[in-house]
């Protein structure tokens, strides 16, 4: 199933969703899809998690960009690296002053103000797109694997909380810049990933209704790992079902149990997706199929699916 074509015109794609729904895989597939559309993409992860490095078999995480596929690179950010970069590039602080950032009083302060860590990392992303230096890579789009906070709070609102608390100074200016870029639907879009299951769908609905002003940035909700329907129902199944259930062949009785489980799964997944779609007020929902196998194969299959390729 394809996703809205407008996504490929955006410069920032924030991929969000709860843990365990396959966000990292979806981000990477989106990156491949962007590249296929001729748009150079950078997969960005926050808080130095190393998930893209793991997915692509690159070993340790790295702040320096690395290529993972033709037209796709990845970088792994941490708040400390981004802050040092910010102090160096934007504040023109020399090495000695920047050493202060490594003292406990300052790291403690940075830890103690919620949202600051997000702010530095979003600032770096903004900078990467809007104001790259000559020796920096140039990307058409960045795709962000947003952290799953588990509290239903988006990263953007986290930066906003910070802006409320910090009302003047360079951090405030930084948060205003970020607000302008990340809050602009022409530049930024949010893709929500969920699973076609009752609980993740409930959480997604709650998350979306709590989005507030960021609601306008949403472009699609992706229901990941959807099982393609292998068991058609209807009259044929109604007639065959009792024959399998009472068969003298144990394999056919086992097939009966498998079919019932799959039918229940399909029904549950179908119901979840319809419920989600009905709650979204016209916002598109797309399903991504469950694909078995090793990750390169999975990513390529999902990228084709995102683009609506039949091949």
């Amino acid at each position: 199933m394809s996703i809205p074509e407008s996504i490929f015109a955006r410069r920032i794609v924030v991929v969000t969703g709860k843990g365990g729904v396959g966000k990292t895989t979806v981000c990477a597939s989106l990156g491949l899809a962007f590249a296929k559309r001729g748009r150079r993409a950078c997969l960005v992860e926050l808080n130095g998690q190393g998930r893209f490095a793991q997915l692509f078999g690159l070993g340790a995480r790295s702040y320096a960009p690395r290529a993972v596929a033709p037209g796709v690179e990845t970088i792994s950010l941490t708040a400390n690296e981004c802050l040092d970069d910010f102090a160096h590039r934007k504040l023109k602080m020399d090495t000695v002053v920047r050493m202060l950032f490594k003292t406990r009083a300052v790291t403690g302060f940075l830890d103690a103000v919620p949202g600051l860590h997000d702010l530095f990392q979003l600032g770096k992303i903004e900078n990467l797109l809007v104001d790259p230096h000559d020796d920096d890579p140039h990307y058409d789009a960045v795709i962000i694997d947003a952290p799953s906070t588990g509290h239903g709070l988006s990263m953007l609102s986290s930066a906003r909380t910070m802006a409320d608390l910090v009302r003047v100074g360079r951090f405030h200016e930084l948060s205003s810049t970020i607000e302008r870029t990340f809050g602009d639907p022409e530049k930024t879009t949010i893709v929500v990933v969920t699973l076609p299951e009752e609980l993740p769908v409930n959480e997604t609905m709650e998350f979306i209704s709590a989005l507030g002003p960021d609601r306008k940035l949403l472009s699609v909700v992706l229901a990941n790992r959807y099982h393609a329907a292998p068991v058609p129902k209807g009259l044929a199944w109604e007639l065959m079902e009792p024959l399998l259930r009472t068969s003298s062949d144990p394999d056919l009785r086992q097939l009966h149990r498998l079919a019932l489980t799959e039918i229940e799964r399909q029904d549950a997944e179908g119901t979840s997706v319809s419920r989600l779609a009905a709650s979204l007020d016209g916002l598109p929902v797309a399903v991504l199929p469950w694909v078995p196998g090793e990750s390169r194969h999975v990513l390529a299959a999902l990228a084709s699916d995102l683009l609506g390729d039949e091949s």
């Binding site: 919620p114 009302r167 609980l199 409930n202 068969s247 394999d251 056919l252």
Partner: protein, 354 residues
């Protein structure tokens, strides 16, 4: 001695359900059990009779499953637990000022490590209560499984003397370095936030001291022979590095893993011979041959599909098991439709470590 079981794992793996399952299994074994959950799903809360309840333990009616033990359950309320901590350990004249401090209201429960810290504070309350043989603790959602163990220390570090409490304060004894840092931070974040943060850490004085003192006590609790960890995971390779890091950390710290629970595993179809359409029953008269044939082809595809899924899961389980070498591994089969009732939790019991 009270036993403590801590369920760790990444988000989205069914950790809260597994924690509830472990608690029910202990109750079925005749023990007095309490489970401290984090934000359970509505239907799990319903199954436990917890809907609309919070920070105080309530008894779960176990008569439908005929358990000989008892089960209480409660849900962690971070804000209430933090406020409570401040009231108990703050100097009386500053508590009110602290509770209205702008920074306290915005940040207290979002401080680095606060969620995990509050879970452990609540755990200690339950241990002190003395009513229970077994306490099962569900842990907050984390980006990495090991985050839980570093959280109390991160929280304690914030309250080390002379760091943040010096910010924005009028004291004239500040060192040159601190004054310089204050100036840099003011330029970056403005004067008022520095004042608020500084005031917060000064007002927190005795509470912060308590948090620091607790740090060692918490480490002792986590290392105690009466504490065991249950690692909950999904049968997926993307959690492998997390599981390895978790196992390494626990070994290095001499902490005990009771078991690894691999949740929602699809089992292989176990067929004697492959299904081909010719093996299926003949079409009855009332159905068109083409429709019957289409169904037959679709059904024949089903076992290989389930098998592919099961093989993915089995391969992941064998690598995950190798990562926690020597730890008992429980495989919880996928329950179509999920765990919705107390009876379903009780059915998990034979698979769970008690």
């Amino acid at each position: 001695m009270t036993r403590v079981v801590i369920a760790c794992g990444l988000g989205g793996v069914g950790k809260t359900t597994a924690a509830a399952g472990v608690a029910v299994a202990h109750a079925l074994a005749g023990r007095r059990v309490v489970v401290l959950t984090i934000d359970p799903a509505r239907r799990l809360a319903d199954a436990l009779g917890l809907s609309g309840l919070g920070n105080e333990a309530v008894e779960v009616d176990l008569s439908p499953i005929g358990a000989t033990g008892t089960l209480h359950a409660l849900m962690l309320d971070r804000k209430a637990t933090f406020d409570d901590l401040v009231r108990r350990h703050g100097e009386p004249d500053i508590v009110d000022r602290l509770l209205v401090n702008r920074y306290y209201r915005a940040a207290s429960t979002r401080l680095s490590g606060a969620h995990e810290y509050m879970a452990i504070v609540k755990l200690e309350d339950l241990v002190d209560d003395g009513r229970w043989d077994v306490i099962v603790l569900d842990t907050p959602p984390a980006q990495h499984v090991v985050d839980f163990f570093h959280a109390p220390e991160r929280m304690a570090t914030l309250f080390e003397p002379g760091s943040l409490s010096a910010l924005g304060g009028g004291g004239g004894l500040l060192g040159m370095a601190t004054r310089r840092i204050g100036m840099v931070l003011e330029r970056l974040a403005g004067e008022s936030v520095i004042k608020d943060v500084g005031e917060f850490f000064r007002l927190m004085g005795s509470v912060g001291e308590h948090i620091r003192d607790q740090s060692e006590h918490i480490q002792k609790r986590l290392r105690s022979k009466d504490t065991g960890f249950v690692l909950v995971t999904s049968p997926r390779l993307d959690v492998l590095s997390d599981v390895e890091a978790f196992a390494d950390l626990l070994r290095a710290q001499k902490m005990r893993i009771e078991g690894m629970l691999v949740n929602r595993v699809v089992l292989p179809p176990r067929l004697g011979h492959p299904i081909v359409p010719a093996r299926l029953p003949r079409a009855p008269d009332e159905i068109e041959a083409a429709e019957w044939e289409a169904l037959g082809l679709a059904l024949a595809e089903l076992p290989p599909m389930v098998d592919a899924l099961a093989r993915d899961h089995a391969a992941a389980i064998s690598r995950l098991s190798a990562a926690v070498d020597g730890v008992p591994v429980s495989v919880l089969p996928e329950i179509p439709g999920g765990v919705r009732t107390l009876e379903a939790l009780a059915r998990l019991a034979p698979f769970l470590p008690t």
